[in-house]
Symmetry: C2
Subunit: 150 residues, 2 copies
């Protein structure tokens, strides 16, 4: 359907949440689930993937939980999504040369290549650090709006 799955969406919410936590703060599944409105048991599955990919670090047992795995300014939106959904290909012919044998003469093939490139430009350019900053600016702006509505 040319739409990101809940896996990808929830992964972004989770990583973004961890990125917004103070250094060293350990977050529990419960916290993340409630704050980001993701079903707890589903989220736990997603966190496993994110842990295996290194985007987050986990510790089991008492005082365990999750922290972000790398500096937030080194984690892009695309990387987060692909960590749980696998690599993005807008059409099968982008998977690899010859995946669709028509690619050698197909005039649509280069268009998909370009479309994907442009999409990646956007998803690669936003890091989790950027998004945390954006969030605080939106919050500030919303507070301003509220004041002006009096």
């Amino acid at each position: 359907m040319l739409q990101i799955t809940r896996d990808g969406e929830y992964a972004v919410r989770a990583v973004l949440f961890l990125a917004s936590q103070p250094e060293g703060k350990i977050s529990l599944i419960n916290e993340i689930s409630e704050a980001q409105e993701v079903p707890k048991s589903y989220l736990s599955k997603i966190m496993q993937h994110l842990t295996r990919s290194g985007l987050v670090k986990s510790r089991r047992g008492a005082k365990g939980g999750f922290v972000i795995g790398r500096p937030a300014d080194t984690i892009t939106l695309r990387e987060t999504i692909e960590a749980v959904e696998g690599p993005i290909f807008l059409n099968v012919c982008l998977i690899k040369k010859g995946e669709c044998h028509r690619d050698v003469f197909c005039p649509v093939h280069p268009v998909w290549k370009e479309a994907q490139k442009r999409l990646f430009e956007v998803l690669d350019s936003k890091t989790m650090a950027d998004l945390v900053k954006d969030a605080s600016e939106i919050e500030k702006s919303n507070a301003e709006d509220k004041k002006h509505r009096n």
Copy 2:
């Protein structure tokens, strides 16, 4: 999976085929299916959608078949895909305001908006007429390559 479906892919192939036919030439399901390597019975379902959307015109009965429904330079890649897949939304929050209630404070929302805009720029800018032209240029270039490989 953030990938166009076979419906969309096959629709593009079919419309492109019709766009490349000489004015007035009527094409049969069989011809289109063979030339574009799309399962015949599946294609027939897709042609129905394309007909209802006006992108192609059909005539039943003897001497019937399909022709393109509008000038090829007025049909974009995006329109063709959306005719069979429905409108494209890279994430649910793009469907409409409030579809995701977090959109008012979510820093990722504007990124999806931008990503979709960029994607549309590419898919809207290519018409079937462009693609037919591109195809003939690719063919010419491939023939050249072949000659030089001697």
